[in-house]
């Protein structure tokens, strides 16, 4: 099979940019990535975006990128997979190269959220639930799903709100060193635990924020020092009430299993990880589902500091969704931005010992989509 390599990455500052347009953010990230790649001839563009249509009234993002950057009359598409839009867009690029159709693909992700009210954004995010379900009509939300999950997790394990706070604190401490992160102000465990309740037991710091931002990556079959060792994607139940085991997200587990299988490696071989911590609870569960820690024991690994930058399995050295920020369509690509820098040895919170294998996991919906990419320094 054709190998796929990373030739360039780009990322805007994540945060509140009410005065910058979606196009401006998108092109900024694309130009950074293209410059880093030496401005190659691009054969196709994929753009990950979730709510450009619903809250910003802007579509045709792929064509805008091709046109504004003068890439020629090449094929482009927007990819939507809720919060996994960016990761799925990257996977489309990988598949396009592996098929032999394209040599070089530009993949970007973008979201504009901060111009809208929280209620309107929450409503727009709820488009990633099944409108026809009694569950959505009951008033369940995304944070709500992970709140229900967290209460059960607490009930079945020794974990408590303090463990969720430890995840949020770790990611905040990482973001403080990341110049592109949205939240770089220090926080304390007490402050996190006492913050305003969003959906019991999840407080403000347990939930990823609304963010403006963009990220981009240039992929090619031509060799580079960063190899996309595997790309895998899975679906899962779109409703909480259909979960066989509430404390499992099958899409994460299955996408991880497939990615390891294709790469011929196991969780023990991974040196650095970016996980989809849309909520602190999600990170606790994902580190179990991806096989880094035993089922129902993710909270112990967190308590022991094993997922810190200096731990044996560093998770979210960028600050994660919780503190780097979560501009939905850009998130999956910003994970790869951090990991590419980790493999080059140029990341904020650089992991010691020249990491060789890096894993990114990007989730959409209440476990509806999950994408895993494993990158390798070659």
């Amino acid at each position: 099979m054709t190998n796929v390599y990373v030739h360039g990455v780009g990322m805007t500052q994540f945060g509140t940019f009410v005065d910058r347009t979606m196009k401006d953010l998108l092109l900024d990230a694309c130009i950074q990535a293209l410059n880093e790649a030496g401005n190659p001839k691009v054969d196709a563009v994929y753009v990950g975006n979730f709510m450009g249509g619903s809250i910003y009234n802007q579509e045709i993002l792929g064509a805008i990128v091709a046109n504004e950057l003068g890439l020629g009359f090449i094929p482009t598409a927007k990819v939507e997979g809720a919060c996994a839009s960016g990761g799925i867009a990257v996977r489309q690029g990988v598949l396009g190269i592996q098929s032999g159709e394209y040599e070089t693909v530009l993949v970007a992700g973008v979201e504009k959220m901060k111009h809208a009210s929280t209620a309107d954004v929450t409503q727009a995010i709820n488009a990633a639930m099944d409108n026809d379900s009694n569950e959505k009509r009951a008033g369940l939300t995304f944070p709500g799903f992970f709140g229900v999950l967290a209460n059960r997790y607490f009930y079945e394990t020794g974990a408590s709100k303090k463990h969720l706070a430890m995840v949020a604190l770790k990611n905040r401490e990482n973001a403080m060193q990341n110049p592109l992160a949205q939240f770089r102000k220090p926080a304390t465990l007490e402050e996190i635990m006492e913050a305003r309740m969003i959906t019991n037991p999840l407080g403000l710091f347990d939930c990823s924020p609304m963010t403006d931002g963009a990220a981009a990556i240039v992929l090619s079959s031509k060799k580079s020092p960063v190899h996309v060792r595997s790309s895998a994607q899975s679906s899962g139940p779109t409703q909480m009430q259909d979960a066989d085991d509430l404390l499992s997200i099958p899409a994460i587990k299955e996408s991880g299993r497939l990615a390891y299988e294709k790469a011929g490696v196991g969780p023990e071989d991974i040196d650095v990880v970016e996980i989809h911590d849309c909520f602190s609870m999600t990170e606790m569960l994902a580190i179990e589902e991806l096989g880094f820690f035993a089922k129902r024991e993710g909270w112990k690994a967190i308590e022991e500091g094993r997922t810190k930058v200096i731990g044996d399995k560093p998770v979210n050295t960028s600050g994660g969704l919780l503190s780097r920020g979560h501009p939905i369509g850009a998130t999956g690509i910003s994970q790869l931005y951090q990991l590419v820098h980790q493999l080059r040895g140029t990341a904020p919170n650089q992991v010691e010992g020249n990491p060789r294998l890096a894993l990114a996991q990007n989730l959409g919906g209440t476990g509806s989509y999950s994408v895993v990419h494993i990158l390798e320094r070659v």
Binding site: G139, G144, V148, Y155, T199, D242
Partner: protein, 105 residues
């Protein structure tokens, strides 16, 4: 309400409160509608303080995942009061497509 409609696979032990074209577990069987008691216990819950625009007027409200007593099926419902895991609950009614549950006496 006396009954809860559920769907059972005719080929394996899969059950769900939602219908599917084909059983997601064995990927072979068709699902057959059947009726059970809506009574159950709270498997887990959350109190939603920050709600989407369409529910903002009733926030904070409680959403629970309810394990039915008579079938291996869980149902997401809105509660009419706060609950905790293990509480016995019963169906109070339907409201715009949502199951509304209440604590059993």
């Amino acid at each position: 309400m006396r009954v809860m409609k559920i769907f059972a696979c005719m080929n394996c032990d899969y059950h769900s409160v939602t219908s599917k074209y084909t059983c997601p577990k064995c990927q072979q069987g068709k699902l057959q509608e059947t009726e059970v008691s809506p009574k159950g216990t709270v498997y887990s819950f959350t109190d939603i303080h920050v709600a989407p625009a369409e529910f903002a007027h009733i926030a904070p409200y409680t959403v629970a995942l309810i394990q039915l007593d008579e079938a291996p099926v869980k149902v997401t419902a809105r509660m009419d009061s706060e609950v905790t895991i293990g509480d016995a609950v019963e169906l109070k009614g339907l409201e715009e497509g949502a199951f509304i549950y209440t604590k059993a006496n």
